[in-house]
């Protein structure tokens, strides 16, 4: 509700009383920008970030030698057959991992979403229950994604042995944490008025979610999920190094045997997968537009 905001244009004598035209937000903004820079600079120093080193001649030659070892890419039929099998395994691992992650993320993300909180409408009873639940969910999500998938994978390899199962579980847990957090944030930042008005008309929370929030948020949710699937495909490399199967394990073997050509073909496969994920995301977004 706007109230008494603008001076009456028909009453010029009011202008004298109007506040000066300096933006009251200007000073804090400048301050925060300076503060961010003062924090960032020592951090860069600490990280020994020195872009000039990239272009020193010795370093360039070393990198060139490393990259040169990847050429030409390996294209023998036996290797391609192996690659095909590993690609399928990776895709299966990423997809199953993301499916598990979504299962974890949806309830946790919905718990985080304040616009679905009925008690927020009017300070009714039990508002603190919701707050405690939200804090718990937030903490759980932080634990899930705070531990890197590699560590989860190392843990689960000890349970399930080498293979994709450990990778699926590790991906599902870490990515569940990430998806849940971002789902909650996407839902919170979408327009909450439709949901609010439905809740105010006595609708249940889930119905309000489907009728009020999802029509606006679905596109963002889908494209973030597809992007995470793409990340999962890439993450499976790292996990392959700890024996969780798929392209990563193949990559690990090739690197250990110093077979740069095979590694190059695997990298090319990754590129194709990433492009495919991008295309999938784009077409899904267009369909839902």
């Amino acid at each position: 509700m706007s109230r008494n905001a603008a001076a009456n244009p028909f009453a010029p004598e009011d202008r004298a009383a109007a506040p000066p035209l300096r933006d009251p937000a200007a000073l804090p903004r400048l301050g925060w920008t300076l503060a961010a820079l003062t924090v960032l600079w020592p951090l860069l120093q600490l990280a020994r970030f020195d872009p000039a080193a990239l272009f020193e001649s010795g370093n360039l030659a070393a990198m060139g030698h490393f990259v040169g070892g990847f050429l030409p890419p390996e294209t023998s039929p036996e290797f391609l057959a192996l690659l095909g099998k590993a690609t399928l395994e990776t895709l299966a691992m990423a997809t199953a991992g993301i499916a598990l992650a979504v299962l974890l993320a949806v309830p946790l993300g919905l718990t985080l979403t304040r616009s679905l909180s009925v008690s927020r409408l009017g300070p009714g009873r039990g508002g603190w229950v919701g707050q405690v639940l939200r804090s718990l969910a937030r903490g759980l999500l932080a634990v899930l994604r705070g531990v890197p998938e590699l560590v989860w994978a190392l843990l689960f390899v000890r349970v399930f042995g080498l293979g994709a199962a450990a990778g699926v579980l590790a991906l599902g847990i870490t990515y569940g944490g990430m998806l849940g957090k971002v789902y909650g944030e996407i839902l919170e930042s979408s327009d909450d008025r439709p949901t609010r008005s439905l809740l105010e008309a006595g609708s249940g929370r889930l119905a309000a979610l489907f009728y009020g929030l999802l029509p606006n948020a679905a596109r963002e949710l889908v494209s973030y999920t597809v992007y995470r699937w793409e990340c999962a495909v890439r993450a499976s490399v790292v996990m392959g190094f700890v024996g969780a199967g798929g392209l990563g394990q193949l990559m690990d073997q090739s690197m250990k045997m110093l077979n740069g050509g095979e590694a190059a073909t695997i990298l090319a496969t990754f590129l194709v997968l990433v492009l495919a994920a991008d295309g999938l995301s784009e077409s899904l977004r267009r369909r839902m537009a």
């Binding site: 300070p123 105010e200 119905a207 009728y211």
Partner: protein
């Protein structure tokens, strides 16, 4: 049925006192218009009546119930019986008109029915009937972002009509419509309320519309009720006071562009 407010006050989180000392008793089936300058507290008052804002002071009884004394379940059931037409229809742009209208009954339908209705609309005939009364029947399966502002406002109205509430509230329901359509729409709201015998409260910028269509008119100024009279008894002097600029106070400029008013040239609408 009907409702009553006793000494109701509401202060926003930022310390702004939107309502103070509101006493209002409305019998079942009464129809009243709220008028007043923007920022006077009409929307806040309607939200208190919709059981969506809990006042800090005073007592509220809506449809023979105290909304804030019962269980959350009882509050939800009460909210399902109250319909509020919003000034800006709170409808996601990508939603289809049929879904937006059927959403009016989410408070009455079980969850499975609400979800199934997203796949196959549960009652397209019912939605079409309400839209037809607002001359929008042919837009049933269109997306809401294809509609004009006035059409969207009517879809929001159709949703509340479809809800069939026992207490019908409307916050500037015709602010995006042209004068002729405003006239028809306000008449339709009144006709619906009298036909079903439900209580109607509508806030209107267009004073003349309020005086012509509503038996009882309540003037709200600075969060208080300035007058509460039968429409015929509202005088020009009272209207002038209602919309008079509150100049003179430093740092608090007047907010009304409506003044000065004379009976013959009341603004029909002011969006």
């Amino acid at each position: 049925m009907g409702f009553s407010l006793d000494a109701v006050g509401f202060t926003h989180a930022n310390g702004y006192r939107a309502l103070q000392g509101i006493d209002l008793r409305v019998a079942p089936g009464e129809r009243l218009a709220l008028i007043g300058a923007s920022g006077a507290g009409k929307t806040t008052l309607l939200r208190v009546l919709a059981a969506s804002l809990r006042p800090d002071e005073g007592r509220v009884r809506l449809l023979d119930a105290d909304p804030w004394a019962g269980s959350p379940r009882a509050l939800r059931a009460l909210r399902a019986r109250i319909g509020l037409v919003h000034q800006a229809a709170p409808i996601p742009p990508r939603q289809r008109v049929v879904t937006a209208v059927l959403a009016g009954r989410l408070g009455q339908w079980p969850l499975w029915k609400s979800l199934a209705s997203l796949v196959v609309p549960a009652d397209p005939e019912g939605a079409r009937r309400e839209l037809a009364r607002l001359d929008l029947a042919e837009r049933l399966f269109e997306r809401c972002d294809r509609l004009s502002g006035g059409q969207l406002q009517r879809v929001g109205l159709a949703r509340v009509l479809y809800q069939r509430p026992d207490l019908l509230l409307a916050d500037e329901p015709v602010s995006a419509m042209d004068p002729a359509l405003s006239e028809l729409t306000v008449a339709l709201l009144n006709e619906e309320a009298s036909r079903r015998g439900v209580t109607l409260v509508a806030s209107l910028h267009a004073v003349e519309l309020a005086l012509r269509h509503f038996p009882r008119v309540v003037g709200v100024k600075d969060g208080r009720i300035l007058f509460d009279l039968p429409a015929a008894a509202v005088s020009d002097a009272q209207l002038r006071e209602l919309y008079a600029a509150e100049g003179g106070r430093p740092g608090l400029a007047a907010s009304t562009a409506e003044s000065p008013l004379r009976a013959g040239e009341l603004p029909l609408r002011c969006a």
